[in-house]
């Protein structure tokens, strides 16, 4: 039995010469929270717009609830879309916004039923008492909720969210994160959430889909993606890895930090050595490490993040190396700016990419 709610098969979309989506295939189950991570221009918004039906793909098919919807009009797809700028109807009240799809969509619904369902949604997103307000008389966070309620009122099986938290301030963003998850779980619908923020993608998705230049380059649980990025690009987008160029040859990786044994390596088009920020250790220059990686670097500055401290080092030629110290592991060491230190790490914890792959 086909358990997927939604399926993409080789979807390709071009704008002139630019390939916005390249042969994207994906299967999404019912009751799932999927986050799409990618830099701007990676095609993630295009992907959502193609799924919603605002753009037609050049090639490939889109299936929704077992039906081919590639040529179905946007308003007949039954897929909800939440816009980054919320796109509320500025001349209507909160109630009229939420009830818009129920009133004007197909099939037409009785006014009392519209009101009941709209009120139910307004209650769900915690906006009771604001029904009669104009949408320019409420705060950004409340507008976000109206946008969500308006989409959810249609009871879609699939909701597409285009950077839904992008327009909110940091405080509100973290609160809306948990609320989005809670609302989704209560309704049991599938969310596809596009974001440029790796923290948001990892925190919210049951699965994370990483996109780069129109291609899906990794799909997996947040843990899988975080711990074993499929390519140097994924490691780069996660913003948690120091990346070093070098050469992988016969189980040894040679880079600016010396030659280190690399017993296992992931296949990639170029040789890259990745070390997570919190795996880096800082030693005084005098403490010559007997073997293993050793990288001379100049301390630049540190940044206090509350639960941890980020230390920035310059490893020469402007190569920035970041080191994260979790404060739960004890008080941080104080480094002198413009002083040289020796950076090292346990080679077993590094991830190696290369053409001479072992796996």
């Amino acid at each position: 039995m086909d358990t997927s709610v939604f399926r993409l098969e080789g979807v390709t979309k071009r704008y002139g010469d630019l390939v916005a989506l390249n042969d994207a295939s994906l299967e999404v189950g019912a009751n799932e929270y999927l986050s799409f991570l990618g830099p701007s221009g990676s095609g993630k918004t295009t992907l959502l717009r193609v799924i919603a039906g605002f753009e037609a793909p050049e090639a490939g098919r889109i299936y929704f609830e077992g039906r081919d919807i590639t040529n179905v009009q946007a308003h007949e797809r039954g897929i909800g879309f939440v816009f980054q700028n919320f796109a509320l109807f500025p001349h209507l009240t909160v109630m009229q916004n939420v009830g818009f799809g129920l009133t004007h969509g197909k099939p037409a619904m009785a006014a009392s039923e519209v009101e009941r369902r709209a009120a139910e949604m307004i209650d769900l997103v915690g906006l009771s008492g604001m029904e009669g307000r104009g949408v320019d008389q409420i705060s950004g966070g409340q507008r976000q909720r109206v946008a969500l309620a308006r989409t959810l009122a249609m009871r879609p099986k699939l909701v597409l969210l285009d950077e839904p938290l992008g327009a909110l301030d940091a405080n509100l963003r973290s609160r809306m994160r948990s609320e989005l998850r809670a609302i989704r779980e209560r309704l049991g619908v599938t969310f596809l959430h596009v974001t440029g923020s790796e923290t948001e993608a990892l925190a919210m998705g049951d699965r994370v889909v990483v996109l780069d230049r129109g291609t899906i380059i990794q799909t997996g649980t947040p843990g899988e993606v975080y711990d074993s990025p499929a390519s140097p690009d994924v490691a780069h987008f996660l913003n948690r890895y120091n990346l070093f160029d070098g050469t992988l040859s016969k189980g040894n990786f040679t880079g600016s930090f010396g030659a280190v044994s690399a017993p296992s390596a992931t296949r990639a088009e170029r040789d890259v050595y990745a070390v997570r920020y919190d795996r880096v250790k800082v030693l005084p220059l005098s403490a010559k490490a007997s073997d293993g990686p050793a990288l001379k670097a100049t301390f630049i500055a540190s940044e206090y993040l509350g639960s941890s401290i980020m230390n920035f080092f310059d490893a020469g030629q402007g190569h920035l190396v970041e080191m994260e110290h979790h404060l739960s592991l004890g008080a941080p060491e104080i480094y002198e700016p413009k002083q040289d230190y020796l950076l090292t790490w346990n080679p077993e914890q590094a991830i190696v990419f290369g053409r001479e792959a072992t796996i």
């Binding site: 919603a52 039906g53 879309f81 816009f83 796109a87 509320l88 109807f89 004007h104 197909k106 308006r150």
Partner: protein, 290 residues
């Protein structure tokens, strides 16, 4: 504390200075002339003379004469018709220029194209309709040539129809501009959101696009109304003296030095315009749109 007081003091001083030129200008060229017209409308007019003795004679004459009241109704009728035709022709044009044309450059170019007729003088634009609409004019010649009609259509020129055609052409762009501006400000995502919520094009137009463009319609209607209500040249040139608007009456009265009567008509016209503008402004709250 003292600092804020001085800043406020300074600001109010600056405000006063900035207000002066406007106040002087408006008083000299708007308030005083209007007061003067109202005053003169109560003067006593004899055939060859006018004196400032107050009388209601001109007012009584205006409201008791079929010519004058008829002209008031003609003005209102022509105004309503032209308002409707400029809207009917202008709204689809604005919809195309402001909403359907995706490129900003192209929509600017199209708006400039709409304005091109203004490169010639107003009177020439009006008079140019004569060789177009006449019995042996361009339209009749073309229609005869392609065999749609056997006899030239004579109602085209020197009728109320020709005045309406002329005014619609001249004032249409004042309707197109503000509407296209409002339409171009509509966030495309809003329309997509409405589509995503299952609304078809008709619903989206009537529930979203039209209400959001309404301020543009009102501004356009105010432009057209003010200009059409005060019109005299188009009706003078294209109606063959058959259509007499209040503006034409003023021209004739001033021409024969009947200042009191001209003033009465002027006051009536000003009041009509005031009512029309106040009425149009009640449709939308323009302050919210600025």
């Amino acid at each position: 504390m003292t600092d804020t007081v001085t800043i406020q003091d300074r600001q109010s001083k600056v405000t006063r200075w900035l207000l002066i030129p406007g106040i002087v200008w408006m008083s000299l060229f708007l308030v005083v002339p209007i007061a003067m017209i109202v005053y003169v409308s109560f003067w006593t007019q004899t055939t060859f003379n006018i004196s400032s003795d107050p009388t209601l004679a001109s007012w009584k004459q205006f409201f008791s004469s079929d010519t004058y009241t008829g002209s008031l109704w003609t003005t209102i009728r022509i105004w309503l018709i032209v308002l409707a035709t400029t809207f009917i022709v202008g709204y689809p044009t604005a919809l195309f220029v402001g909403l359907f044309v995706k490129s900003k450059t192209l929509s600017t170019v199209l708006l400039v194209v709409c304005v091109i007729p203004f490169w010639t003088s107003f009177l020439i634009r009006v008079l140019a309709w004569r060789p177009m609409l006449g019995k042996e004019g361009a339209i009749n010649i073309v229609l005869l040539k392609i065999g749609i009609i056997q006899q030239p259509i004579e109602v085209l020129l020197f009728t109320e129809l020709s005045v309406i055609i002329g005014m619609t052409q001249i004032y249409c762009v004042f309707m197109v501009g503000p509407i296209a501006f409002m339409l171009s400000r509509i966030d495309r995502n809003i329309i997509e959101a409405a589509r995503d919520l299952g609304a078809g094009f008709g619903r989206i137009f009537w529930k979203i696009i039209f209400p959001l463009s309404l301020p543009g319609v009102v501004v356009g209607a105010i432009f057209v109304s003010v200009m059409v209500l005060g019109e005299f040249a188009t009706s003078g040139a294209l109606s063959g003296r058959k259509v007499n608007l209040l503006g034409n009456i003023i021209v004739t009265q001033v021409g024969s030095l009947k200042w009191a009567m001209a003033s009465v008509v002027g006051v009536v016209l000003t009041i009509v315009m005031g009512i029309v503008i106040a009425g149009l402004l009640r449709i939308v709250d323009l302050k919210r749109e600025l």
